[in-house]
């Protein structure tokens, strides 16, 4: 995918650019706010990564300007600030996701892919399918190979999120934010326990596992 990176810190920019290129994406980099806005309005990008604190024009202003001009390209805000208000402000300005520095590259990549999927999708599906796993959003039932699985409401939402992002890596923080809707630091890897519980329901007794752990990154639900 074509990605625009607006970041003034050379080292962070190099790290992100290198990682994204290695993952097979093409990246344009702007070192300050003005260049960033110029590239964003001119070029055609599938997703933007915009640092909040930038020389000449700050990240939130760039996003606000673009949104005002009708540009809907998904934007991920990078920030050194970790407070709830900051995130709320970023999302209010028209940002689609918010990531606090420092971050693991896998976290950034997972979030970018999730953003891209969200931008491309949007069709009102009522049944999600991954291989022989089937989740019906209307009847709120889950079946695998015609066997009905009994899930708790939260497990249902967890599976729904994983299925909507099937084939992508989903990180623990993404699950906390989107499935549990709280922004906090768990002291224990509590998500792992929920995942292993879900796994025992959807994969136990079946030959092919669907829910995989991606080492150092998160989880991935994918068809074999």
């Amino acid at each position: 995918m074509r990605i625009l990176l607006v970041e003034d810190d050379a080292d962070t920019a190099r790290y992100i650019t290198k990682g994204l290129k290695e993952s097979g994406h093409s990246v344009d980099h702007a070192g300050d706010g003005r260049d960033g806005l110029f590239l964003a309005t001119d070029g055609r990008y599938e997703v933007m990564i915009i640092d909040r604190m930038l020389p000449s024009l700050d990240g939130l202003t760039i996003i606000r300007t673009l949104r005002g001009a009708g540009n809907r390209t998904p934007a991920l805000i990078l920030s050194a600030l970790a407070e709830v208000d900051d995130r709320v402000l970023g999302l209010q300005a028209g940002g689609d996701d918010y990531l606090v520095k420092p971050f693991a590259f896998s976290e950034l990549l997972a979030r970018l892919e999730a953003l891209l999927r969200r931008g491309a999708g949007g069709t009102a599906e009522t049944v999600l399918r991954v291989a022989d796993l089937e989740l019906d959003l209307l009847s709120r039932s889950v079946k695998r190979a015609d066997r009905t699985l009994d899930l708790q409401p939260r497990e249902f939402r967890l599976l729904e999120y994983l299925m909507r992002h099937s084939g992508q890596v989903v990180t623990r923080t993404m699950l906390l934010e989107y499935v549990w809707d709280y922004h906090f630091d768990p002291q224990t890897n509590i998500i792992d326990v929920h995942i292993s519980r879900l796994r025992s329901k959807i994969d136990k007794g079946f030959d092919v596992p669907l829910l995989h752990t991606v080492r150092g990154a998160g989880y991935c639900l994918r068809a074999p």
Binding site: A82, E83, P102, Y182, F184, D185, Q187, T188, I190
Partner: protein, 458 residues
């Protein structure tokens, strides 16, 4: 008048002043009475002496006839007056005078005497006292000259009554005045107390009001305000220093971490190297998360405005925490028992509340042995919400209960378990920000954390 006023030092001081003032007034009035009364008695005695002088003089010059003439004249001058005369022979047989007979207790020497007047005339309605002097004339005659001192006694009573009223009015006015003065003093002290309470609850920008009159209270307020300015600027610089340290160290640490990650992706041939790099990344992540936790606590502690607070249904939030941790408890075969009263709301930051309660529940699960019980109870007693998180673990010795809220404090028993010693510090900061209270108790066995919640009224 509330009990706080009665307990105040101002009120006690006023009482002491009242007692001292009352005693002085009493002494002063006593002296006035004593001086007036003795003057009046002296006057009576003087008059009696003068009369005796006149009468004896007449007796000496004109004999018994002259004396009786003068006495008759004096008696006829004021028939119902207060003067008392009696002339007797040596056998105390009355010869002339307005007394029927010699007073019962009157001695015969020339001393002063006080006696009760018998009801001689209808003008004397009650018992009257008299003061008199007996004089022995040449020829054995006895002359008694006296005064009915009834008027004098009434006057003295009047004086006593007046003085007592004076004392009462003085005490009433004094008492009223000292209460008023005490109240005004107390109001000013209360203003200082109120400002102090607000400052202690986190509003460091608050200052003690000063009336700019330059009196001692204003000087006290000014000094306290200068002290507060200094504390505020010190705290601000400490906060900045710690923020800067955490922030400045975080950036190079993040770079180190990122380089390690790049290296990890680059060396895919050697399993041994990959594992070592993976461990190094995990160590860097641990350090970063400690820095983040420190910064987060600093931010929560420095947060003065509660502007982003929203009404939070606390029971639902606690249920979410319980639901998140329930599989962990189940994995450890612990029993997680929740009793949450519905519909209780408080004003707060839901992410911070979630963080604080999950830290506490995380600790409870971590420290409770297998098959133990953890209880989460939310209830409401007259508008005061209460959350109890009780476990059946080893608990915390009483001596360490205050210390667990300090940064990086860890109990001996939990040194081997994972954690950075910042979880409870963050809980304390969140509790303070929300004006909640936290108390640690012995659950016999285990730890019981009791959080007081300021609920919103419906």
């Amino acid at each position: 008048m509330d009990t706080r006023f009665l307990q105040s030092s101002t009120f006690r001081l006023a009482l002491v002043y009242m007692a001292l003032f009352g005693t002085s007034v009493l002494l002063l009035l006593g002296f006035i009475y004593w001086s007036t009364a003795s003057y009046m008695s002296t006057q009576t005695d003087f008059t009696i002496n003068v009369e005796i002088g006149d009468l004896t003089e007449r007796y000496r010059s004109d004999g018994l006839t002259g004396l009786t003439e003068l006495m008759t004249e004096r008696l006829s001058r004021k028939p119902g007056g207060s003067s008392i005369y009696l002339l007797t022979d040596r056998d105390l047989k009355p010869l002339l005078g307005n007394l029927d007979r010699w007073p019962v207790n009157a001695t015969l020497d020339q001393a002063w005497l006080n006696f009760e007047l018998e009801d001689a005339s209808e003008t004397r309605s009650s018992t009257h006292h008299a003061r008199a002097r007996v004089f022995r004339l040449a020829g054995g005659y006895l002359l008694l000259v006296g005064r009915d001192i009834h008027e004098l006694e009434i006057a003295k009573q009047r004086i006593v009554l007046t003085l007592l009223w004076g004392l009462a009015i003085t005490l009433i006015l004094g008492g009223f005045g000292s209460v008023m003065m005490g109240r005004s003093t107390m109001r000013r002290i209360e203003a200082i107390n109120e400002a102090s309470r607000e400052i202690m609850s986190g509003d460091l920008s608050r200052r003690i009001p000063s009336r700019a009159t330059g009196d001692d209270f204003d000087r006290l307020a000014d000094n306290l305000n200068i002290m507060l300015d200094q504390i505020e600027s010190l705290m601000e610089s400490v906060r900045q220093v710690s923020d800067n340290i955490a922030h400045d160290l975080r950036t190079p640490l993040a770079r180190l971490r990122n380089r390690l990650e790049e290296l990890y992706l680059a060396v895919n041939h050697s399993d041994e190297a990959r594992e070592a790099i993976e461990q190094a990344v995990a160590a860097a992540d641990g350090l970063l998360s400690t820095f983040n936790a420190l910064l987060r606590i600093a931010h929560v502690e420095a947060q003065e405005s509660r502007g982003n607070f929203v009404p939070v249904e606390i029971g639902a939030l606690i249920a979410d925490v319980a639901e998140l941790y329930e599989p962990l408890a189940e994995q450890k075969e612990q029993h997680l028992d929740t009793q949450l009263a519905p519909g209780l709301r408080l004003s707060g930051d839901r992410d911070l509340l979630f963080q604080a309660i999950s830290n506490l529940l995380d600790n409870a699960i971590k420290h409770t042995p297998a098959h133990g019980t953890i209880r989460l109870v939310l209830d409401n007693a007259n508008g005061n919400g209460r959350l109890v998180i009780a476990d059946s673990g080893p608990g915390i010795p009483e001596s360490a209960r205050e210390k667990v809220f300090q940064r990086f404090f860890r109990l001996e028993q939990s040194r081997t378990t994972p954690g950075n010693g910042l979880g409870m510090s963050l809980v304390a900061a969140v509790v303070r920000l929300h004006r909640m209270t936290i108390r640690l108790e012995d659950n016999r066995p285990g730890l019981r954390v009791i959080i007081g919640l300021p609920l919103l009224e419906d």
